[in-house]
């Protein structure tokens, strides 16, 4: 089977890869670009561990084909920190101990960042609904929600 050539942009960098049309964007990120931040929890759109943004839109990278990334702007968890400087969301997740095993964390970070870009002042209910597609089996969610709400408050003060 012939492989397809894909040119796309990931975290601001132009990248290229060859993929089988069956391979998902998640497979391509992890296996071809060595960006292993996005995780495969379920592979069927249920858990959100594979969350990335495509042209600014939050999606599950397990529900998108690698070939569909052609010409798109992809953002993954690897692009959230500025070099060694953590993003406020990452900082707060640590402060609140909002992670244990960490499998869900990259997806939560990408999803929460996308929420705050759309809505800098979300209510707790809005935050919980926005993150309803990001499952966490460890924390019980409360610390995650508090970390996101507190980051939102801090970013509002800073701006």
């Amino acid at each position: 089977m012939s492989k397809l050539h894909v040119s796309t942009t990931v975290n601001g960098d132009a990248v290229e890869y060859l993929c089988d049309p069956r391979e998902t964007l998640l497979d391509c990120l992890r296996d071809k670009l060595n960006l292993t931040g996005a995780k495969e929890g379920c592979g069927t759109g249920d858990c959100g561990a594979c969350s990335v943004t495509v042209d600014g839109r939050l999606v599950c990278s397990c529900l998108m084909l690698g070939v569909e990334a052609e010409g798109k702007q992809i953002e993954t968890v690897e692009g959230i920190a500025d070099g060694d400087v953590l993003h406020p969301l990452q900082q707060k997740m640590i402060e609140y101990a909002a992670l244990q095993c960490g499998i869900c964390t990259p997806g939560i970070l990408v999803a929460a960042k996308s929420l705050l870009e759309k809505n800098p002042n979300p209510t707790e209910e809005e935050t919980r609904y926005w993150l309803a597609g990001n499952l966490c089996r460890c924390t019980g969610y409360d610390k995650i929600i508090r970390a996101v709400m507190d980051t939102a408050a801090e970013l509002r003060e800073a701006s």
Binding site: T44, G48, R57, L63, M64
Partner: protein, 288 residues
């Protein structure tokens, strides 16, 4: 698997008409990729329709009707400033599908053509009188949404036919729609029962009505007897009971782990009443 991304619907149709084996169109992929991965459906040919011009457009036409491109996502529908004012039931039904991530991809057309009897947007579209434009080898035709599904996973689309637009009627005066579903959880679940209602008033009296039921038969149903039960009424209690009875009578549900036949038959009546009340309040211009 061959992957194609044609630049027009005519080309998409020709690719599908000439393909052998299993063909799927790729809109948001939230059904196609799940089926691919679980090896439920392994397409030989995948035709991505998202590179076709205008497939993300939401257009209000001069006569007040709406044309939606077939790759328009749930998120794009919810974010549109006016669509949800005209058709809150249709927009809310679409918005019930999956998570924020799924909303970023999922489409009305995919929900319809996947052929699930529990597809949330379909009863809302049927109640609203939505049609789809279908492009095939012999040109285009306009088909009512209720005529697309023919059974679980099956549609009336023939080889080489692709849905090329979604057409929502003009809202007009004194009218409102609503969609409600029952799920065992509050988010991320499949409808056990879904009900779409659309109605128009003259003063307090219902003069037009369409009622559609989901997840209670092999396909989404448009139920004439439900419409008859409320036509000419002001939606008083006796009318609501007659509506519920007509909805329960129209059911032909399955028994499964998510809901028994008895449960679905009962709940469809309850939801029909509630959805009718919301549509009625909306038709009166009240916030519901």
């Amino acid at each position: 698997m061959d992957y194609h991304s044609p630049a027009s619907f005519a080309e998409a149709s020709a690719l599908a008409a000439n393909a052998t084996g299993i063909t799927r169109f790729l809109a948001g992929g939230t059904d196609v990729l799940v089926q691919l991965r679980s090896e439920l459906v392994k397409p030989d040919t995948l035709i991505d329709i998202k590179k076709i011009n205008g497939v993300h457009d939401i257009t209000r036409n001069a006569d007040g009707s709406w044309t939606l491109g077939v790759a328009t996502t749930g998120a794009e529908m919810s974010e549109h400033p006016e669509l949800g004012q005209d058709w809150p039931g249709v927009v809310e039904a679409m918005d019930l599908i999956g998570s924020t991530q799924v909303q970023g991809r999922a489409t009305l057309t995919g929900n319809l053509c996947n052929g699930s009897p529990a597809a949330d947007s379909v009863p809302a579209m049927v109640a609203a009188g939505v049609t789809v434009t279908v492009t095939g080898p012999d040109g285009t035709r306009e088909v009512a949404v209720e005529d697309i599904p023919t059974g679980p996973g099956k549609t009336s689309l023939t080889k080489g036919e692709v849905v090329s637009a979604v057409n929502i009627p003009a809202r007009g005066e004194n009218a409102g729609d609503a969609y409600l579903r029952f799920i065992p959880r509050t988010e991320m679940d499949i409808a056990v029962v879904g009900v779409g209602v659309d109605l128009r008033l003259d003063g307090d009296t219902i003069i037009e009505a369409r009622v559609s039921l989901g997840a209670v038969a092999p396909t989404v149903l448009l139920v004439e007897d439900c419409a008859k039960a409320i036509l000419g009424s002001t939606l008083d209690d006796a009318t609501l009971d007659a509506l519920a009875a007509a909805a329960s009578a129209a059911c032909n549900p399955i028994d499964d782990k998510r809901g028994t036949i008895a449960f679905r038959t009962e709940v469809v009546g309850v939801l029909a009443k509630r959805a009718a009340k919301i549509a009625y309040a909306r038709a009166k211009g009240e916030n519901a």
